[in-house]
Symmetry: C2
Subunit: 296 residues, 2 copies
């Protein structure tokens, strides 16, 4: 495992958040041991290389480098790539910072902003079945007379009444449009495993005989937008996640390497998955970052 | 439609209940116009033929007839074949009788008693995610230390917490066993369409990567046990239901004819179903019984 070839020539890290940085829970969640420190060490390579190499290149006055040589010269770049839909990105980042993760809003790629772009492009007016705390992400979107349903990890809002309401709207449409913010099967909170949005997506798909459009991991377009934020091509990026299908499989389909951590929702049976095989397993994010830093 | 060949040589009627006899609802539901009268007329053929033919045969003292000639000589026989899992059969029959349907408990084939037989055969101890009013059906079943989950139309019991609990039990089993009392997509109540047990079955199947065992329509074994109660071979029986897949498709797979009524959850788009084509459409149960009686 340690020191494998998978760790060579990495310039960008895409990190899943829940189950990699922290275990979520009703109490807000708890950081996974060593993760905040690992993020700090990864970002530190960036800062150090900016200061030294950027200065050297600036002094040389070289024109052969790209437009911003001090960025090109930096170490690891980092982007969080999450299917988190229980909070706005702003509140999500606030929570992460309170847990000791040195992260800012543009460093988070999340499904809700991606869904808003899609809704605008296609003139769709959503009925939202999402977590209360996510609703502000859709503030700019016309929600009158809905012609689609947007499903997120609504958690306590997944009531019998709310599911029936979303179902009735869909079944009443001539051509039902169901947009799902992710298709995860389940995730781990501090008080146990919870059904994720994908399970409810399947319920509505079956009831309405419709196929949902997934925004978020493992959609290719979603990984591509995270890579664009990162400014790193897929062959120089590595995804680190706890979800064998949505993190590992999705990233590999985009030409990235991908690691599965043995934290969060990881289960030993994942290692026998019939379709997806990670480039490596690591015990946790800290171990992954250790090995990647050794190969920088 | 009227007078088609489909109505010839019918000796047994299997009737779906919700959407055929009545529209269910929080208030207990309301009979569909003409249905109680139709059941009465169908049963009347039976009584008349018993009294006249039974008497004639008894007087002739013939031995060439079966053991109970007065039964063999009867007109239409009738069995309700329902996926109803919101009440015990006793309470279900009480409700139907109060609506004017002249039905008794042995005339109802329902999933819960069938599931109890299966649980006993296989030594399974269920965790129940069912409607409160169905629980007494499982009174005789050992439910300690569950090694399977039984899912019914739990309605208001389909809470986020209850679904997570059932999910955690399943995902914690070495080989998850999920038994679903039906796999309907939705049904109609007086206040609108509601998601049926099949939608929640799909959610748990996806989350646990397991295939549910369906007890109830459209399972072949379930139709066969209803036919056994009826004492009529499939080619002399006809199923009348509002569900194109579970009623019509399921019955046809057992060699029965099947009608779809244009009541209950029927939708015009059902008539373009890619796989299932009923032997005929009728506007409602009353029309079906009219035509069948004309061919007796």
């Amino acid at each position: 495992m340690a020191g494998g070839g998978w760790a060579r020539a990495v310039r960008g890290l895409l990190l899943d958040v829940s189950g990699v940085l922290y275990d979520s829970g009703a109490d807000g969640g708890v950081p996974i041991g060593g993760s905040a420190e690992a993020v700090r060490r990864a970002l530190a390579t960036q800062k150090w290389r900016i200061s030294v190499l950027g200065l050297m290149i600036a002094q040389l006055g070289s024109d052969s480098e790209a437009k911003w040589p001090w960025i090109k010269a930096s170490g690891l770049k980092l982007q969080l790539c999450t299917n988190e839909t229980q909070a706005t990105r702003e509140n999500f980042v606030r929570k992460l910072r309170a847990m000791g993760f040195d992260i800012s809003v543009p460093e988070v790629t999340a499904p809700a902003p991606a869904a808003c772009r899609l809704l605008k492009e296609r003139g769709l007016r959503p009925h939202l079945l999402v977590h209360d705390d996510l609703v502000p992400e859709f503030a700019e979107i016309d929600k009158t007379n809905p012609n689609c349903v947007v499903l997120g990890d609504a958690a306590e809002n997944f009531t019998y009444a709310n599911l029936n309401e979303a179902f009735r709207l869909l079944i009443g449409m001539e051509k039902p449009v169901l947009i799902s913010l992710g298709k995860g099967r389940y995730y781990k909170e501090t008080d146990g495993l919870k059904l994720d949005v994908g399970a409810y997506m399947k319920a509505l798909e079956y009831a309405c005989d419709v196929q949902a459009e997934v925004v978020g991991k493992p959609a290719k377009r979603f990984f591509e937008s995270a890579l664009a934020e990162l400014g790193v091509p897929p062959e120089q990026a590595i995804m680190i996640g706890d979800d064998i299908v949505n993190d590992v499989g999705g990233a590999q389909q985009c030409g990235m390497r991908a690691l599965q951590v043995r934290t969060g929702k990881y289960r030993p049976s994942d290692e026998n998955h019939p379709e997806v095989k990670p480039d490596a397993y690591v015990n946790n994010l800290a171990e992954a970052v250790d090995i990647i830093l050794q190969h920088l």
